[in-house]
């Protein structure tokens, strides 16, 4: 499965368009980690546990998107975009979407 943010896959041509595919996940912060992050807030800087959490979530969103693309018979996803939204206290949705295509 080729993943790209471009409109085409470099070195290949798109033979079929199979429409929009997307994957998303909603994750909440770990209470213990959240507490540490709260302490970290007094000194500022990177919140490593959140960075890791959101990276994990993004990988899962990508996996789900890829699963959807496989289900419709695609071998590449082009024009991929990500979005993150804070939906409730301590929970974030991470979403990935793109266009499933067949390249040859």
């Amino acid at each position: 499965m080729e993943l790209t943010t471009l409109e085409t896959v470099p070195g290949k041509t798109i033979t079929r368009h199979l429409g929009l595919v997307q994957g998303s996940t909603v994750r909440s912060k770990h209470a213990g980690k959240d507490f540490l992050a709260g302490l970290k807030n007094f000194v500022g800087g990177e919140l490593k546990s959140y960075t890791a959490l959101l990276n994990e979530s993004r990988n899962e969103a990508i996996e789900r998107m890829v699963a959807q693309a496989k289900a419709v018979g695609a071998n590449a996803i082009v024009n991929i975009r990500f979005s993150t939204s804070n939906i409730a206290a301590g929970a974030a949705e991470v979403m990935a979407y793109g266009t499933a295509v067949v390249v040859g």
């Binding site: 080729e2 993943l3 790209t4 943010t5 471009l6 409109e7 085409t8 896959v9 470099p10 070195g11 992050a37 709260g38 970290k40 807030n41 007094f42 000194v43 500022g44 800087g45 990177e46 919140l47 959140y50 960075t51 959101l54 990276n55 993004r58 990508i62 991929i80 975009r81 990500f82 979005s83 993150t84 939204s85 804070n86 206290a89 301590g90 974030a92």
Partner: protein
């Protein structure tokens, strides 16, 4: 008595924010400058298509992300500044750090796959601040930079 304890607590937090926060920020900017210099040969474009005359062997999705939070001093400084309006320098440097860090991480991922260019790069910021137990939220934000890393043809 209680008021004195509260003021003391506030001053201590402010001092921690001022010293630790500033030291943190200085170190981060220094590290960023070093890493950026070492990654200067990876070119980043937000154009939608790579130049048609160049041949590429493969394209890989690369993502860099970071969550960064304000310190207590920045929060108070920005709060005071908001009373009169104008430029919030405390947050400007914070957002700058976050965004540059995300770009650096994206470039490091591109370096791992042997790419020399990243095309169609998108930058995104989302606020993760939240309201806990009715108190005003501490500001934290996630920065993502992502794009397609291109490996030139003729490389192993």
């Amino acid at each position: 008595m209680e008021a004195i304890v509260q003021i003391g607590f506030f001053v201590v937090l402010l001092a921690i924010g001022w010293f630790a926060g500033r030291a943190n920020e200085k170190r981060h900017f220094r590290e960023l400058a070093e890493v950026e210099a070492s990654l200067r040969d990876i070119l980043v474009f937000n154009e939608r298509r790579p130049p048609p005359e160049r041949e590429f062997r493969s394209g890989t999705l690369v993502v860099g992300s970071v969550v960064i939070a304000e310190d207590y001093f920045k929060r108070i400084a920005a709060g005071l500044r908001s009373l009169v309006g104008g430029r919030l320098t405390a947050y400007e440097s914070l957002l700058d750090r976050g965004r540059r860090e995300a770009i650096v991480r994206m470039k490091q991922e591109a370096r791992r796959v042997g790419a020399t260019m990243i095309f169609n790069v998108r930058l995104e910021t989302s606020s993760l601040s939240e309201d806990r137990s009715g108190r005003a939220p501490m500001f934290s934000a996630e920065f993502i930079a992502y794009g397609t890393a291109l490996v030139p043809a003729g490389r192993p």
